[in-house]
Subunit: 322 residues, 2 copies
């Protein structure tokens, strides 16, 4: 089968045997996958990664281990990306996403979804209802990451929230928080991208020359840049909360004085459970179609990565070449 | 009257008229004051400060504005340091400490306590009960700053907390959290200083070569150094909380990856209400006597500042020269 391989910054195509199916696992045929900013970071050497990336996908279960229910066969699924031990204290608390011995699909020691067939534990799988298309299902994982914010902090309905960054994650975060009932104001750099979420009631603004100081109780940094965190702290009111959604590789410098003087809370936020994302997508509360830039067949993965890394491009999808 | 003046890094003595007493204010005769790390930062140019510093003090009310109760006269008092408008939304929420138009005793546009007579609004004053000595009363403000942590985050009794830094604030934070019922582990650089809090049941450790990773749900950075925050994040477990108690002047560089991957919460923490500090000191729950290094008369303030800035020195007090 065809698989995509990252090696020293290069995107390569390889032919590999079908993955075997350990106890508890399913084999899944890829239907569609999305290239995430994290994949581009992996390409740049983040985590010292080499191997098959890909953690946003929809697929069809084609085989399960002998001990697992045959009901899964033929089902269209999405899959939670953290492969947890299921036994440690974190797992018992329902926080397998923080299991210290976890592997992570396409990120940490488990080959990812950019291949014709992948494997995941059956307990990671979620059936995709017919109301969610395969293209939309690719967004379940990033929408879940946006929903994670609401699992971490209690944002009252009606509260104003500033979201910084109109990239893929910023656009999803803005929609998720707006659907939750917050009054979201998105600050970005691209009128055309911001238009996607304006339809959902989100107000938008091009990054102003002078940022409003202490203006929001809630600020989400989804800029993916080092300046984002500084801007978010500036805009956050005393005793307010900044949610850190940006993965920036390397050290960033911040002035801790406004954090301490204004007693700002900074909350690091990563991936989330799939259930709320499935509900939002099934209920058509989130527009993801507008976020798709282009489709590439798997055997054109190098071109797809190049396209995804182009400034201003939103979601690039990969599909089996057939 | 004699007053201490900071100007371009120099500590000067000046003779000034008695301060006038505006409506709502009291005039207070200084009994004792403490030099805080913030005062040393002010001396170094933090906040572009010039003027009379000093915000940790005990004094005696010698006069009040005509409209205020004469009951205050002769009372031994400590005073909250933020002079708030009393009318804005922050003040109405009981958060005058974040009032945007506030001045701050000895820090922001209100002359401080390092002078023979100072002024504060009567509503900032707290009577010091006889069970608290004048020397102990000087610590009400920094103990309140340590107590602020418990006003911001809910630390369950019995939870393990790591406190980083065995300076003045670290030693107070360790005692306050231990008195609250947490199991405090202090990581510092001075066996002799840490002994002060060991008597209160705090366990202590010299900074180890290799920090324990993801070991504490709660970590307080009171190191006053840029490395402190990095160490605190390393030691904090997934979904745990780092409380930022260090004022570090200038930019510090941090790696946001562990904050985001482990979904760590960082909470900036500044000064607090005096009531819990008064309760702890009156109840003898906190040893502050052990933190006093030396007493200087006000007219030896330059030597006192020099002593306070000496590495390893704890609290230096100033008293009226008489």
């Amino acid at each position: 089968m065809l698989s995509v391989h990252l090696e020293s910054g290069r995107v390569e195509l390889r032919s590999q045997p079908l993955p075997r199916i350990p106890a508890g696992f399913a084999r899944i045929r890829l239907l569609a996958a999305g290239i995430c900013s994290t994949d581009l970071e992996l390409q740049r050497g983040y985590y010292g990664f080499s191997g098959t990336p890909g953690h946003e996908f929809a697929g069809e279960v084609v085989a399960v281990h002998a001990d697992e229910s045959k009901d899964w066969l033929g089902r269209r699924v999405a899959g939670e990306i953290n492969l947890a031990c299921g036994k440690c204290e974190w797992c018992k608390r329902g926080l397998g996403r923080h299991c210290p011995t976890r592997t992570v699909l396409g990120i940490v020691r488990h080959p990812g979804a950019f291949r014709e067939f992948l494997t995941l534990p059956v307990r990671n799988l979620h059936r995709v209802p017919t109301s969610i298309s395969t293209e939309q299902a690719v967004f379940i994982e990033p929408v879940a990451a946006a929903c994670e914010i609401l699992a971490q902090v209690k944002i009252p309905r009606g509260d104003a929230v500033a979201v910084l960054g109109d990239g893929k994650l910023g656009l999803l975060v803005a929609q998720v928080l707006q659907a939750h009932g917050a009054r979201v104001h998105l600050v970005g750099r691209h009128r055309d991208k911001m238009r996607i979420v304006e339809k959902r009631g989100v107000t938008t603004e091009l990054v102003p020359k002078k940022l409003p100081r202490c203006a929001y109780r809630w600020v989400v940094d989804a800029t993916g840049s080092a300046e984002g965190l500084r801007a978010a702290v500036t805009m956050c009111e005393p005793r307010g909360t900044v949610i850190m959604k940006s993965t920036v590789h390397g050290l960033i410098s911040i002035d801790t004085a406004p954090v301490i003087v204004n007693e700002v809370t900074l909350v690091g936020s990563r991936c989330g459970r799939f259930e709320p994302a499935l509900r939002l997508l099934a209920g058509k509360k989130i527009d993801v179609a507008g976020l798709i830039d282009e489709d590439f067949p798997l055997d054109q993965a190098p071109a797809a990565f190049q396209r995804a890394a182009t400034k201003g491009v939103l979601k690039v999808l990969l599909r089996p070449s057939r």
